[in-house]
């Protein structure tokens, strides 16, 4: 037999085809080949164990096939016609003509039905691989909105989005990413809302992914963003909520669903979106404005408060109210380390605790976090390692940092930079750091849409959504999409 590869066409002879398939799959143990004869014609059903549901295979494939059996014989062509028009009834049915397409389909949970004399196989989709049920979101919790989150199966995720946007303009395009993994990646967009140029650019970037495997969103991010190593923030956001993705799609954004990851990528993702929550649409307008203010304040507290505290106490104590300063001075007199060192140590410990609480099993994770924080913190203050005011600052910072999960990584890094800058150079260092970070944020753009829009460039129509939320009457009249942010 000649050398076989993914482009090798199937042979009309069943035996040859089955030999080719077995050889192409390397005699893998989970390949299941079931031979049978139907109306005098030799047939075979090929599938991969674990990828198909045995019960449904029986119902949708074998039972209809057996119903065709009678004492008359048929030619391969007639049998093929009967199979396609009378037996194998399924909405998810296609034909495979090459070894490569056979492999793709069989690993996607399809059953291939071969007939002797036909140079193609009928593939019926009967996915039965184990998947996780739709669960609650873990990071993006909200009070007054849906409690469903994406799952690992891309098809399920597609259905979660489709259920919420019942419009024919919602399109999904499937792309395979990863040379070995062949991971199914669905691009979701709404026709007429999305900028075609941006869509083309995105597809081009996805097709340029040269990795062997794509096992999650992080694998695709560097290909979707330009200069991702140099930028602090990401122009591509993630969400685990179908309702958030739908809200973004309506604004003309593009969603990317990846098989195996319970997250969707959203692009373009703007800085202001990190401060949004689906709860804003469930609250009154004035409360939504208040919540936005709280989130902005939390961002500043989480990023800059410790650094500013160190700068103020060490370099500009005259800024502080006298009684506050006296309390701080009295507190610091009893500690053995300098304030700067204390702050660095405590912040690093905070990151250690945070990392530990993610990695530990859920059963003991929370208890260890609380005990670690309370015991370590309390004992450290009583032994004079750190001062009480510092613990208050750290507590406020830690709490504030959990308000914005979208910026968790960036906040940890920026916080450390501010502490170092404030500790080394006071408010000069704080200003320098602030300008650098702002410049880094402002330099980003994806497909011509600046990351800082609608703040800069200023877009009057959309600024209300940054500072709060428009009332629903205004939202109903508002037809703006993300393309207008250019």
């Amino acid at each position: 037999m000649n050398e076989i590869n993914e482009h090798t066409p199937l042979s009309p002879k069943l035996s040859e085809t089955l030999v080719m398939i077995t050889k192409f799959f390397g005699n893998t143990a989970d390949l299941s080949v079931m031979r049978f004869t139907l109306r005098g014609v030799k047939c075979a059903a090929v599938s991969v164990e674990g990828m198909v549901s045995s019960e449904i295979v029986g119902e949708l494939v074998y039972k209809p096939l057996m119903s065709l059996e009678n004492e008359t014989t048929a030619t391969p062509t007639e049998l093929k016609k009967l199979l396609t028009e009378n037996a194998l009834m399924s909405s998810d049915r296609t034909a495979a003509r090459t070894l490569g397409s056979c492999a793709e389909l069989v690993f996607a949970g399809f059953v291939l039905v071969f007939t002797d004399g036909a140079d193609s196989a009928e593939a019926v989709g009967i996915q039965g691989y184990p998947t996780k049920a739709v669960a609650e979101p873990t990071a993006e919790n909200d009070l007054l909105s849906s409690q469903e989150a994406f799952t690992e199966a891309v098809r399920t995720n597609i259905s979660l989005v489709r259920r919420r946007l019942r419009t024919p303009k919602l399109r999904f395009e499937l792309i395979k990413c990863g040379k070995l993994s062949g991971t199914e990646t669905a691009i979701a967009y709404i026709e007429g809302k999305t900028d075609p140029k941006m869509l083309r650019e995105l597809k081009k970037r996805l097709k340029s992914v040269e990795l062997d495997s794509v096992l999650g969103p992080a694998f695709l991010l560097p290909f979707l963003e330009k200069q991702s190593d140099k930028l602090l923030f990401s122009e591509v956001g993630t969400t685990e909520r179908p309702d958030m993705l739908c809200a973004d799609l309506i604004q003309g954004r593009i969603g990317i669903l990846i098989d195996g990851a319970p997250f969707a990528l959203v692009c373009p993702y703007l800085f202001a979106q990190g401060f949004e929550s689906i709860d804003d649409y469930a609250a009154k307008t004035y409360f939504a404005v208040f919540l936005k203010f709280i989130r902005c304040l939390s961002f500043l507290l989480a990023a800059a408060f410790p650094g500013v505290y160190v700068a103020a106490v060490n370099f500009a104590p005259e800024m502080l109210n006298m009684k506050l300063l006296l309390s701080l001075a009295a507190g610091e007199r009893s500690t053995m380390l300098s304030l700067f060192t204390e702050m660095l140590i405590v912040m690093l410990l905070l990151e250690v605790l945070r990392e530990a609480s993610i990695r530990l099993p859920h059963a003991i994770g929370t208890a260890v976090s609380i005990a670690g924080g309370l015991i370590i913190g309390d004992a450290a203050v009583k032994s004079g390692l750190i001062s009480s005011p510092l613990m208050i600052v750290v507590g406020i910072t830690a709490t504030a940092s959990y308000v914005l999960p979208a910026f968790a990584q960036q906040l940890s890094f920026i916080r450390l930079m501010f502490i170092l800058a404030g500790g080394f150079a006071g408010f000069f260092g704080i200003s320098v750091c602030a300008v650098m970070i702002t410049a880094n944020i402002c330099s980003q753009s994806l497909a011509g849409i600046p990351y800082t829009s609608p703040l800069s460039p200023f877009r009057k129509k959309r600024i209300m959504n940054v500072t709060g939320r428009k009332n629903f009457a205004a939202l109903a009249r508002d037809k703006t999409t993300v393309s207008e942010f250019r």
Binding site: A316, P317, L325, R333, S334, F424
Partner: protein, 343 residues
């Protein structure tokens, strides 16, 4: 980003680190007296007295201590204090500068150079005079409150709202002493003889009094002004918003709501009319004065003050510069007459 932080770290270690907050000596109040060696500086500094390991600062205790230093200038004397205390003096929270009555304010460099050279110092810090000496005043024990100097400042603020005191900041002091008139007015603290029985010492029996204002001419103490005169000066000059009037029946506190100036040049002299829009600051028992009698009373008071040579305190120099710059240029001490019009 890391390279920048490294550069900043290099900068930090190359110049030397600023002192830690725990190593700083926080100065609350500064007293300056004259002695044979030049100047004697008394610093009231923060000294925490804790009440337990979890509470390093006990607000029920004074939390201050005094330290003295002598030198040919205030800077030298402060340096001696620093050596005694063993830490970096921090003037950023200094609330008050007290000058002894015998001080010569015309020696600006010796007196004020120290405060002006400290970048963290508050330039609008309250200045006052004390009798008999600044050291004695600062030594008066404080029964409660974690910050002793705040008591002096609050007395000045209370006096301003009572119309009995006119505050003086360091910038005003330096500007006034460097003006052609060299005239300065500052609140005057006095210390009564203290009750030797310390057990009976309670807040109501505090020996510190703030009632008059001291006037310095050419740097030296010359006179004291009564609370009534001080109130008139602060209202007419615009430095205060309250003054009081006295009659046989009662004392009435008046609040100045707005102030407007008009001036005329008559026979080489400037006549300034100060229009004050006033209202009673608090309900008064008995008959209140009408606007005409108030107008006459204030105009007479201004005339008396001008006759005593205190026109500068009413704002003579500023009004000359504003309304009659040519007159001021010819003679900075051109006399100015004041009329007050009450609405």
């Amino acid at each position: 980003m890391f390279l920048v932080i490294a550069l900043m770290g290099l900068m930090f270690y190359s110049t030397g680190r600023p002192p830690e907050i725990a190593d700083r000596v926080i100065v609350h109040a500064v007293g300056v007296d004259v002695n044979d060696n030049g100047y004697k500086v008394t610093l009231q500094v923060f000294s925490p007295e804790g009440s337990g390991s979890d509470t390093p600062l006990d607000p029920s205790k004074p939390n201050v201590r005094l330290v003295n230093g002598e030198g040919r200038s205030v800077a030298e004397a402060a340096e001696e204090c620093r050596r005694k205390l063993g830490g970096e003096l921090f003037l950023g929270q200094n609330r008050l500068i007290l000058f002894g009555k015998n001080i010569d304010l015309s020696r600006s460099d010796e007196l004020f150079g120290y405060f002006l050279s400290a970048s963290e110092a508050f330039l609008n810090v309250d200045c006052a005079t004390s009798e008999p000496s600044a050291e004695k005043l600062l030594s008066v024990p404080v029964s409660a409150g974690s910050v002793a100097s705040e008591r002096f400042v609050s007395m000045i603020r209370t006096g301003e709202t009572d119309g009995t005191v006119c505050g003086c900041s360091l910038t005003e002091l330096i500007t006034d002493i460097q003006s052609p008139s060299e005239m300065v007015m500052m609140p005057l603290f006095t210390v009564d003889n203290m009750n030797k029985d310390a057990k009976k010492f309670i807040e109501q029996e505090s020996p510190i009094r703030l009632s008059k204002s001291a006037v310095f001419k050419q740097g030296k103490y010359s006179d004291s002004l009564s609370p009534y005169e001080t109130g008139i000066i602060s209202a007419v000059s615009g430095r205060g918003k309250y003054f009081f009037t006295q009659s046989e029946q009662n004392t009435q506190l008046i609040r100045v709501r707005s102030r407007e100036l008009k001036a005329d040049e008559v026979d080489g002299k400037l006549c300034v009319t100060v229009h004050l829009n006033v209202s009673p600051a608090e309900p008064t028992v008995g008959e209140c004065k009408n606007t005409d009698s108030l107008t006459n009373e204030l105009t007479d008071a201004c005339e008396k003050l001008t006759d005593k040579g205190y026109a500068y305190l009413l704002g003579q120099e500023l009004h000359l510069k504003r309304f009659a710059p040519k007159l001021y240029k010819d003679s900075p001490c051109t006399s100015v007459t004041y009329r007050v019009n009450i609405n």
